[in-house]
């Protein structure tokens, strides 16, 4: 059974999003880490980098494959989890504590495109 916290929002690409004011925190879901298997490498952006919605902002790699990370909202990176590249396996053990980036949104309307926990659960069961 996948762990899908109720207080978060989700993307179809299996990222979780926590919105607080105009700042969003982004990571990958339990379903994503489970599908990837042993995660061994993470590539994250620099603070200050600007992205549009759906841009690739990083890469997460398991032993088997590399997967792009897509930013679900437009904005500027304000913080990066610097500990993650040194401990990529924490994405396997604690996907919801292992956040990747915090982004200051430039268009908060984009949040309405995200999935609720119920919709995301349905997606995972497809």
């Amino acid at each position: 059974m996948n762990n899908i916290p109720t207080e978060l929002k989700y993307t179809k690409e299996h990222e979780w999003v926590k919105a607080e004011g105009d700042i969003v925190t982004v990571g990958i879901t339990d379903f994503a880490q489970n599908s990837l298997g042993d995660i061994v490498f993470v590539e994250l952006p620099e603070v200050g980098q600007e992205f549009s919605k759906d841009d690739t902002f990083g890469v997460v790699e398991s032993i088997k494959s590399a997967s792009d990370l897509y930013l679900p909202v437009s904005g500027v990176v304000t913080e990066v989890n610097e500990e993650l590249p040194d401990a990529p396996d924490s994405l396997n053990s604690d996907p919801y504590d292992s956040w990747m980036v915090k982004v200051k949104m430039t268009n908060q309307d984009e949040l309405s495109d995200l999935l609720s926990n119920e919709d995301y659960e349905s997606l995972c069961q497809e």
Binding site: G37, D38, V40, F41, E43, V59, E61, S62, I63, K64, S65, A66
Partner: protein, 356 residues
């Protein structure tokens, strides 16, 4: 999708399953890392029943197999296995395989699952003039690869007494639990181990007993990491229909002193188009298809297999580089997405392995 005799057993263990050469195969169980570590330090078992088994029997069996293979099969002792490319007249590779000399008139050939039909069609078209019978028994056999330093001890404890005296790359017919099996001290991980061919029910029983003996079930993902750590080539990656064995650094398997074999004229005096390189990087993971560049950032080749080495904790790869552009200074870079990364050039496999 075809299944092996163990498909249900894999599902019961909650393995991640995927299509591999038309078979539903386990990719991983608990995790790739744990499986690689089990094989390097302890013992693991792979269901590789999707591989194909052909039998060549009769008076000319050795002569025929020696003729279709580039490696020296006639010169191998009875009871030995021989790794060899199977080439066309123009020197390109149909497949790479292992031929097992079980008796002077009985040879088993084990081929890659993805190439069973192609190999069968090729080999059976070459039998004219040879007094042999050729049979495809791929559907009759299941196959387990048991690999790791504790293999001999565990198999002996399960009643395989013969393993204690078996040499590396030996192959012989035997019995286990009242059933016929074919034993081979071969494998694809670089570690000591056996490949055991048998009927479906025999192999199902063996699988259960191995798991009861705390042998780690391993999937095809860890198998790929293990083979790449010891730099074994894989058909579809370092070898394919367009390349010769020379392109994939397999000159040692082409015995031009043999009187005749398919591909001899083409391979005699041929210069390879590519050179196989072993590269590692300190940050990131090189993946198949990534460009390999020289010091001037010119593309001179590409990665053919790449992964994260669990044993060395670094990104490793094999790649083919154009022979005429191979840099004398042996400085190579790899382009990973937008980044161009320096590499370490290796002359030896990334992991030394521990086979007998």
């Amino acid at each position: 999708m075809k299944q092996t005799s163990l498909t249900q057993a894999h599902r019961d263990l909650k393995a991640k399953m995927a299509d591999f050469a038309g078979y539903e195969m386990p990719i991983q169980y608990a995790g790739v890392k744990a499986e690689v570590e089990a094989v390097r330090n302890n013992i693991g078992v792979f269901d590789v029943s999707h591989m194909g088994e052909f039998f060549v029997e009769g008076k000319d069996a050795i002569t025929f197999v020696d003729y279709i293979l580039t490696n020296d099969f006639a010169g191998a002792q009875t009871g030995k296995a021989v790794y060899s490319p199977l080439c066309r007249e123009d020197g390109t590779v149909v497949d790479d395989l292992i031929a097992y000399k079980l008796a002077d008139e009985k040879i088993m050939i084990c081929v890659n699952a993805a190439n069973i039909e192609k190999d069968w069609s090729w080999i059976s078209s070459k039998t004219d003039g040879f007094d042999i019978s050729l049979t495809n028994k791929s559907d009759d056999y299941s196959l387990l690869a048991i690999q790791g330093p504790k293999t001999e001890k565990v198999l002996a404890s399960l009643g395989f007494e013969s393993v204690t005296n078996a040499q590396y790359y030996s192959a012989y017919e035997s019995e286990w639990s009242g059933c016929d099996v074919i034993m081979a001290r071969t494998g694809y991980t670089g570690e000591d181990g056996f490949e055991i061919f048998g009927g479906h029910e025999t192999i199902k029983k063996l699988w259960s007993q191995l798991l009861n003996a705390d042998v780690t079930p391993c999937g095809l993902a860890s198998r790929d990491v293990l083979r790449l750590e010891v730099c074994y080539p894989l058909y579809g990656h370092e070898l394919n229909d367009e390349l010769t064995p020379l392109d994939a650094a397999l000159k040692w398997t082409v015995k031009l002193k043999k009187e005749k074999f398919i591909g001899k004229e083409a391979l005699d005096g041929l210069t390879s188009k590519y050179r196989l390189v072993k590269l590692s990087i300190d940050k990131g993971i090189p993946r198949e298809g990534y460009p390999i560049l020289n010091e001037q950032d010119e593309v001179i080749g590409k990665v053919t297999s790449g992964t994260m080495s669990v044993t060395n904790s670094q990104g490793i790869c094999l790649g083919l580089v154009q022979r005429e552009r191979f840099p004398e200074n042996k400085k190579f870079k790899i382009q990973i997405r937008k980044n161009i990364i320096d590499t370490n050039y290796h002359t030896k496999p990334f992991v030394s392995g521990g086979h007998k």
